[in-house]
């Protein structure tokens, strides 16, 4: 009975657009949903550094190299903001990371695709960050305060990510025939996985209804996907590139672009671990975790040593 009342009060707060803060009462399922979503978002930021990091040393100019370095550095920061937001809900960072490493937590399946050419860096900034921004702009208004505030910060930083990607795409598509072909090839490979980033169709999405009721999400997967397609098609036209979808056309009546069916078998294959780079990505994260172990230990040992030193100085003075 009391639990029921608390639930009703909670829902009323959500309905009146109040933000929920770390110490407020919340249903256990709300807490768990947020921990899952925020930590998987954090994992995506961190794993997302790997495909792009692949090209830092081979960037075609210093301008491109500093931009890519700055972008990858931002992604690390975004991971940090998000892990910290999850920790405000009582999650432990080491548990969250362990879930990533043992495969019980997912990350965005887009990062299981390889970056085969420099044009992929352009396509990722333009499409993958573009898709992420659609989702993240919505999350700036999510009902959990610390998550919403982290997203505001992330969105501010994210704008340059998409612009640097699109700038690369402009340079390639206005370049030589070979460069234009590289840009088209990258678009061909990244288009459909980018549409999959928004997740299953609404009818298939098991978390959507509750997440919408709790205002964790404000738009459904299909709404966000449509908004992304509508925003991106004119950008591809400007580049003179062709989106690899024969069914793509403007629907006057709906006021939106229609687009072809998504290969959900491929999506689920990648989610379940059978994408091209799943093993490589997790292996890289495990290696980083193992090789960083002594650094974390050393930092704690050093801090302890400093503490003892200070204490000894105090007793001497006394």
């Amino acid at each position: 009975m009391i639990e029921k009342n608390l639930n009703q009060i909670f829902q009323a707060r959500i309905d009146s657009e109040e933000k929920i803060e770390a110490r407020d009462w919340m249903p256990e399922k709300y807490r768990q949903t947020l921990i899952r979503q925020i930590s998987q978002h954090a994992h995506s930021e961190v794993v997302g550094m790997l495909p792009e990091g692949n090209w830092i040393t081979r960037a075609p100019s210093l301008r491109r190299k500093v931009a890519l370095l700055a972008k990858v550095q931002d992604e690390a920061g975004h991971g940090l903001y998000l892990y910290s937001a999850a920790e405000t809900l009582g999650a432990k960072r080491s548990d969250l990371i362990q879930q990533l490493l043992d495969g019980t937590a997912k990350y965005s399946s887009i990062f299981n695709y390889p970056t085969l050419s420099w044009a992929d860096i352009g396509a990722i900034g333009w499409l993958v960050d573009g898709a992420a921004i659609m989702n993240q702009v919505m999350l700036c208004r999510t009902s959990y305060g610390p998550y919403a505030r982290a997203m505001v910060r992330i969105c501010k930083e994210e704008s340059f990510h998409q612009r640097q990607g699109y700038e690369i795409m402009i340079a390639l598509s206005k370049g030589s025939e070979e460069q234009k072909a590289m840009a088209q090839d990258a678009l061909n490979r990244w288009w459909w996985p980018s549409l999959m980033m928004f997740g299953p169709n609404d009818a298939e999405s098991k978390h959507t209804a509750q997440s919408m009721a709790w205002k964790i999400k404000r738009k459904t997967n299909d709404e966000l996907r449509q908004a992304f397609v509508d925003a991106t098609v004119p950008q591809a036209e400007y580049l003179g590139l062709t989106i690899p979808d024969a069914d793509l056309k403007w629907n006057e009546e709906r006021g939106h672009y229609d687009f072809g069916p998504i290969d959900w078998d491929e999506f689920w294959q990648v989610v379940k671990g059978y994408g091209q780079c799943n093993k490589e990505r997790i292996a890289a994260r495990r290696k980083a975790e193992e090789e960083g172990e002594w650094v974390r230990e050393a930092a704690l040992a050093y801090a302890e040593k400093q503490r003892i030193k200070k204490e000894n100085q105090k007793t001497k003075v006394a």
């Binding site: 933000k19 500093v66 931009a67 305060g145 998409q162 699109y166 004119p234 950008q235």
Partner: protein
């Protein structure tokens, strides 16, 4: 015995959903009194809806004499800003 009450730093959330911002300091004998005093001193005109207090001695601050070495390196990294990238006007907001 030192009879001075300790100094506390006060942070106020001005509006639901925003983060707490530092507004000032005050004296109080303990944490509860610090919250009460902060409420009396810093929210008389509806300045906020949530208060945090932290004992001033627990705040760790960066060293003001390190201004240049800490913050100058960001100055010439203009490529961290969206305006560094040339996006044609017809593309609109990106």
């Amino acid at each position: 015995m030192d009879n001075n009450w300790p100094l506390w730093e006060v942070f106020i959330r001005s509006k639901k959903g925003l983060s707490h911002k530092h507004v000032g300091s005050l004296h109080a004998a303990d944490a509860d009194m610090a919250i009460e005093n902060a409420r009396d001193v810093y929210t008389r005109r509806m300045e906020g809806e949530s208060i945090w207090v932290v004992e001033s001695k627990d705040i760790v601050a960066s060293n003001p004499s390190q201004q240049e070495e800490l913050y100058d390196p960001a100055k010439d990294k203009i490529y961290r800003h969206p305006t560094f990238y040339d996006i044609p006007d017809e593309i609109g907001h990106m």
